[in-house]
Symmetry: C2
Subunit: 186 residues, 2 copies
């Protein structure tokens, strides 16, 4: 349990002890994990989490979504968050991570080849790199941008700026500088 993200050794121990003392919880969790193993897959096309019986996933097969706009995310869970924001109606592509030389993660470990194949199909006109905004993600974005340069697609990134419902006084200097740089006409 302590190998799960955000769980330390002590928390893992407490969870384990709780499970030993609560057979119903243990049974439910065992069953849920078995079901997850059997029934959940990453979509072979976009990488989103989907049922084994739905591959390609619903997001890939929904005809109301825009084939011309492809949103590249690091992690399948980001797709869930972007869907919740209701701000996007194109297709997705999860890289399953980002370039991280310190952790031995290079281009071959990411779903970059499948991305280039999807772009080569010709339907995509814009690739939105919805990656994080730290150093490794910036490097990944730069690398992808380089690969996509000659592919006749527009490459965009998420806006960097003030969060909604926030203020100038809560922004760090770098975010503020980027918000000024990326200012938008009203």
């Amino acid at each position: 349990l302590s190998r799960l993200p955000g769980i330390g050794r002590r928390s893992g121990e407490r969870m384990a002890i709780k499970l030993v003392h609560d057979p119903v919880l243990l049974r439910d969790l065992t069953q849920a994990l078995r079901e997850a193993t059997e029934e959940l897959r990453c979509c072979s096309r976009c990488g989103a989490i989907t049922r084994a019986s739905e591959d390609p996933c619903r997001l890939c097969t929904d005809h109301r979504r825009d084939d011309a706009l492809l949103c590249v995310v690091e992690d399948p869970s980001d797709i869930v968050l972007i869907e919740k924001s209701r701000g996007f109606n194109g297709r997705y592509h999860a890289l399953m991570g980002r370039l991280s030389p310190m952790n031995g993660k290079g281009p071959a470990d990411l779903r970059i080849e499948p991305l280039l194949r999807r772009v080569a199909e010709g339907k995509v006109t814009e690739v939105l790199l919805a990656l994080n905004t730290d150093v490794e993600s910036d490097a990944t974005a730069g690398y992808l941008c380089h690969l996509l340069k000659d592919r006749k697609v527009k490459v965009t990134r998420l806006a960097t700026g003030l969060p909604a419902g926030s203020g100038v006084m809560y922004a760090d200097p770098l975010t503020l500088a980027r918000a000024i740089e990326g200012r938008q006409p009203v």
Copy 2:
């Protein structure tokens, strides 16, 4: 002391007791407050905090700054933050608040007339509304935008989006939707 922002009754009491027991601190604070009263002003042109002997302030008189770009902020302290970000090299204009009907603050309570006069001088080509991103500030931005509509200036706002060094997973749905909407070409 408890009337200061962020200070509750209990914190105010603790500060007061500390001051009574520390005559040096009391003297220094008294002196600093007297100096502030005598020596600090809001610049008559932009509203930034300046020495009484420097009005208009250094930001208004610095010839290296761009007269064509005018950054409108709610509070003089925002000017300090934007200067720290090193992302802006135009002139400033502090409104001294924002429209807030709930607190009885209307257009006449803000430095809107001086703003329109500055724009009417003709040097300004872009007004950057560096206001906060909550409801009252949005309303203020909308009002200013309406007033500036016929003035032949471009009106822009700070980008809304992910903070620098952050990630998709930490963004709330509204910020994420705005970051997608305001996506920028790489």
